[in-house]
Symmetry: C2
Subunit: 429 residues, 2 copies
């Protein structure tokens, strides 16, 4: 019995989005929900005035970029990358990546994010920090071939493939991987043709940036005579296992292609606003049956890692997109951040039900800004923030209890991150 | 000396948006900042790892609508008002208004809002709750004449005027008032011609909804042959004292008219997104020299009362509006929520400086999502939330200390509000 504990006294959000009073029995060793209902256990976790729901899944991020949070704002994507981000990233040491990752994971846990999909470099550091944090993740090394000679290009793609193979199914299965061609314009055709099939042989999905800005569309159309996602489809990159970040600038043909092939779209509304990339056609994607997940993108273009913001942002700009207040309703937005993201990045989570994985969060509704409660799901979409999360559980383990993170040293990480960031900016001049 | 206390150990945000280490000496009786610098006092308020800044001013809200928070979402403005909001509002008792107001004021204080402009009805209840809370406000009774016979229409306008006269300069000067014709389409010309001059005689400004949706533009153009703000200008409604909520659908002529006459615009980005009203041309207004403030609008179309959200939303959708990431930069967004709002609604606040009013908040920067600090102002715009506010001070009085509200009973208000909301929905059927 000591491997079990009960989350008691609260309400639960069922997979059908009905909310009812129930306790949740968790098996710590198995990492599963044993029962949802009227249960008892010696060990309990209080959920009075709270809602127990699936942990949020941040389906597109660059977690180590927390060190660059607020370093540069209010600039368009290309100038921001070239003038502010890349010069600093060039100075990042493996130690910086480790510290930045730990800071991001700390923020994830505090905000009720239990799983994520990351793409960056020095993935060994990111994997080690993820394993220690207790979180679940899909990780990858983003490879870029453009502007490199063939040897360097092939080496980067090869590293992407090797990293994916090395870390897949590590950390007791909590870490899986993807192959990430950085984007359709920065990873060239020859390398896609060579490496994508190798990922397929190893059962490794693809994760890539797609159609984030108009600048990613024109060059593909000019070179290949088709839209970017038609080009990706020709290369076999839109399977049910694959997930595409952004998809802001897609046309009707590409939307239908996504629906037909089964690839998922990761919507990053905050990043798309902040970099003025535009609004992705999310309601149209949902209507077409495309699976949509949500991501924060990196902290440098957000500037925090609170997926409740993205839920709210998705619902909010979803209505602006075509001027219809019915679009991207509360339930759809919450589902994107849970089941949608989980399905997209291949994590066995996102639904709270007996027999399912115990990746759960307990959200405190006893707050002025969540009073009264006419509708729990409305509050999750429009009023709950990461700071309202009381407990965070991943794979049955309690990662945060009453806002105290159990697996990471909050004070030490904040201090190390501040020091690392200061050193980084100094080195980057 | 006992009337003075020092806020010590933190950084301060100066009116020029420079941030530096400094203490702040406050005179409680005078409600003023005595000195910013290296000060001592027997009584201190800790600001370690924190930023002391002007209190936020929520320049357009309907505070009692907290009771309807999350009651109905994902519907366009007209259907939402007619089907969901008005039927419930018809059941509101003065007691409901009082409780809803207290809940909203509690949320304001917790989120660092020290001043606000409200428009609703039963203003006596709102004024009493405001006085007890210690906050500063501009209040008004919104009058509607359309669909009423002349007697009822005149009575409503008269009530608007009398309420404005009755509560102006009450609560030791913390409460001022406005005359509020609900909007240019719901308050008719005859009544505007009769009552606006009477407000001027009493030195009472105008606060009204303007050009929120396209539906408010067409009828004016059809009836008067000019754009709504040209019509308002003909009626003398765009003086430097007046403030117009929304202004989403304004054309170049109206923008120039606002700049020429000096009226302020209150931007409500969350409400404009949630009701799919559109995006107001904020960067163009700023470029033209129009003063812009920020408002949450009512909690029913937001769904919370956290003005830090509006700062972030303003910066975010400001970039979407014309696809330029440089638009509505962090500093401009923060200034709108402080000095911009204060100037708009006529409160003598919004700048932290010696000799100025002591309407201040202390924001805790010792949190993972605010680490590292490359730029305080960037964090204020993109990462700080209401929950990061430690202390809230209005008119020199400490309304919240270390997140404990001093002037209102948080537990009692939450419980009363939940009960009142349940009763209200039951009565509204």
């Amino acid at each position: 019995m000591s491997d079990q504990y009960a989350i008691t006294g609260g309400h639960v959000l069922a997979p059908d989005f009905e909310v009812r009073e129930a306790d949740v029995l968790v098996d710590r060793a198995a990492g599963t929900v044993v029962e949802v209902g009227d249960v008892t256990a010696e060990e309990t976790l209080d959920a009075s005035d709270s809602l127990v729901m699936p942990g949020l899944v941040n389906a597109h991020t660059h977690v180590a970029m927390t060190l660059l949070r607020g370093h540069a704002d209010d600039k368009p994507l290309d100038a921001w990358l070239e003038e502010d981000i890349w010069p600093v990233e060039a100075e990042l040491t493996p130690e910086d990546i480790r510290i930045g990752t730990e800071l991001g994971l700390l923020e994830f846990i505090k905000n009720g994010i239990t799983g994520f999909a990351d793409s960056y470099f020095e993935v060994g550091e990111i994997a080690a920090a993820t394993e220690a944090s207790g979180l679940r993740a899909n990780l990858c090394h983003a490879f870029i071939t453009i502007g490199k000679d063939d040897e360097a290009a092939r080496a980067d793609a090869q590293e992407g493939l090797e990293v994916a193979r090395e870390f897949d199914h590590t950390a007791n299965g909590r870490i899986t991987t993807a192959l990430m061609p950085h984007s359709l314009t920065t990873a060239e055709t020859d390398y896609l043709e060579e490496f994508v099939p190798q990922a397929r042989e190893s059962d490794i999905p693809l994760h890539f940036h797609a159609n984030e800005t108009e600048n990613e569309v024109g060059p593909i159309v000019a070179e290949h005579g088709v839209r970017p996602l038609e080009y990706a489809d020709d290369l076999g990159m839109l399977t049910e296992d694959d997930f595409l970040a952004h998809c802001v600038h897609i046309d009707e043909t590409e939307l239908e292609l996504l629906a037909a092939r089964g690839a998922s779209v990761i919507h990053c509304p905050a990043s798309n606003m902040k970099l003025a990339s535009g609004i992705a056609p999310i309601q149209q994607l949902l209507d077409a049956g495309v699976n949509v997940g949500l991501g924060t993108d990196g902290a440098a273009s957000n500037n925090d890692l609170d997926l409740f913001d993205e839920i709210r942002d998705a619902a909010m700009i979803g209505k602006l997109a075509r001027g219809d207040a019915r679009d991207v309703a509360a339930e759809d937005a919450v589902r994107m951040a849970t089941e949608g993201s989980a399905k997209a990045i291949g994590l066995p989570v996102g639904r709270l039900e007996a027999g399912g994985t115990a990746d759960l969060v307990v959200v405190d509704f006893d707050a002025p800004h969540l009073t009264p409660v006419h509708d729990y799901v409305s509050h999750l979409a429009y009023a709950v923030r990461g700071a309202d999360v009381r407990h965070t559980i991943c794979d049955g383990q309690q990662l945060m209890v009453d806002r105290e993170v159990q697996t990471l040293d909050e004070q030490a990480i904040k201090q190390q991150a501040s020091e690392a960031a200061a050193g980084l900016i100094e080195r980057a001049g």
